[in-house]
């Protein structure tokens, strides 16, 4: 195709992504997509300012008000210790979301480094790194987290470390495949003939054209990581008892769940909503960045 439509500058790129017209197959932004983007954005905001929005002290115990149902004073009720659940959900968002982001960030960085090295470092390096990845992939996150909890004492930190340690091999695999594809592209050869240094070749030409699929994958993984972190907290090897973390809150309330539904419903809802929102955003991103759907070029 030889379209000569004016092309957005870098700053307009995001706007273009959001407002591109066309049928749904071309990545038209539907109402659901907008809602998901909104919720995901809200959750990120929550991670930043959540604790300051909490109407009450999320740690203030008031046994006289134990298990108050939702009402005008406590919108989401109180738990067995009389703590305001709304405040705890708001404050807990930060813990859950930051832990998730930490896992994804660490796994992405390690995965990108290892994957790129495997793709560009020659056959022997590739073999060694990929076998290490195989080992990493074969370890279930929960088992590693339990082991780490036993060794370092149960804490959110050990859960995050365990998750990051088991999550990066997947990214390394993905990055390796993506970089191997780009590595042989003609524009990379063109840069080589031009005399571009190895470092610049990787940073400027190979990686920027490889990683869009990785961004989609990380967004999709937010929900998965968050569920595992909440799950680990629920089992007791993640965030510890007084901390307001969504999974830990559900775990602490499991004895009262039958008589006081609000103690588990609201943190559970928060987890489910965030997970669904990030999943939808990931899907939306995937359609948007699919090279076959890009305008211009071929």
């Amino acid at each position: 195709m030889s379209t000569t439509t004016p092309v957005p500058t870098r700053s307009a790129g995001l706007r273009n992504l959001l407002t591109r017209k066309g049928g749904n197959k071309q990545g038209h932004t539907t109402f659901v997509d907008r809602a998901a983007l909104g919720v995901a954005g809200l959750m990120v905001l929550l991670a930043l300012v959540g604790p300051y929005l909490a109407p009450m002290d999320p740690y203030a115990v008031d046994l006289a008000k134990s298990l108050t149902p939702p009402g005008s004073e406590h919108w989401m009720g109180t738990d067995a210790n009389g703590r305001d659940i709304l405040s705890r959900v708001l404050a807990g968002g930060r813990t859950t979301i930051l832990a998730t982001v930490a896992v994804i960030a660490v796994a992405t960085v390690i995965g990108t480094l290892i994957g790129t090295a495997a793709a560009l470092g020659g056959r022997i390096v590739d073999e060694i790194l990929m076998r290490i990845c195989d080992v990493g992939l074969s370890l279930p996150a929960i088992v590693v987290a339990l082991g780490l909890a036993a060794a370092m004492g149960p804490s959110l930190q050990s859960a995050v470390i365990a998750l990051a340690a088991t999550w990066w091999p997947g990214y390394a695999r993905l990055v390796r495949t993506l970089v191997r594809e780009t590595r042989d592209a003609e524009f990379v050869e063109s840069a080589r003939v031009l005399g571009v240094s190895r470092t610049r070749l990787v940073l400027r030409h190979v990686l920027p054209n490889s990683l869009s699929a990785l961004y989609v994958q990380t967004t999709l993984d937010v929900s998965a990581v968050m569920l595992v972190i909440s799950g680990l907290s629920f089992v007791g090897v993640g965030a510890q008892v007084p901390a307001s973390e969504w999974g830990a809150m559900i775990a602490a309330s499991r004895d009262t769940a039958i008589t006081a539904w609000w103690t588990v419903l609201f943190p559970g809802l928060a987890i489910a909503l965030t997970a669904i929102a990030f999943n939808l955003v990931g899907d939306w991103l995937r359609v948007r960045t699919d090279p076959t759907l890009r305008t211009g070029g071929r």
């Binding site: 439509t5 003609e186 524009f187 063109s190 840069a191 003939v193 031009l194 054209n209 070029g297």
Partner: protein, 284 residues
Amino acid sequence: MNTAEETPLLEARNLVKTFSGRSGTRAVNDVSFTVRRGEALGLVGESGSGKSTTARCVAGLLHPDSGQVLIAGQDVTRARGRALRATRRRIQMVFQDPYSSLNPRMTVADLVGEGMYVHGIEPDRVRRRDRTVELLETVGMGSEHLDRYPRSFSGGQRQRIAIARALAVGPDLLICDEPVASLDVSVQAQVLNLFGDLREKLGLSLLFIAHDLAVVHHLCGRVAVMNSGRVVEQGDREQVYTSPRHPYTRALLDAVPVPDPAAERARAAGRGAVHTQNHHEEKR
């Protein structure tokens, strides 16, 4: 001065390149040729004849199994490091498919300016931009395109950008690997004329690879014909086109369709006489 004229700008000596694999094909088998300053050498042959592999060996994208590539008398197949980079700069390459040879995430200014930046030719941003505008003018494009991305250009425009990118480092020789083969026919002539102009204006030498004999005839003073990894014939344009010595060259020339039926018959009667006779006998 005298020695500079005697030493060819580019000399390929007995290049051999075998691709590993079960078949172990010798893509390039003992290929030698020279390109003198300001000269255009056309490398023709059918697809799979080893033209592109030869070009990639010369450009340094592939390491030949044996043989040498000399640039102004300096062996670049053995050189390393800084000396190699400085010499390599003198040979640049324009690729076949301008849709894949330009980094889609770089603007025209970045693409054209990159060579000047990495070689420290024009370290200053503003002056580099000025120079980029000049280069774009040289290839017939306006400065309004500077901040656009490759996807907003047509094939012909992209190829012009690719040429400007190659010219930015001030090469003496341009390797053109089928640079018009993936362009619309209407644009091919324009880009070909651009190569001709550049050769005249900048004193650029060309190693021009094509399967289209007309294209080579238009642009190159000397022609080398390749078939299954070997150069089967090499010589001046007129000599190769009018009195080809090797049967493969003859077959190649006969395969070119002639738009005038009378001329076509005349050619068949002349060069292809044996061929037609055989054909008649078969019919009988």
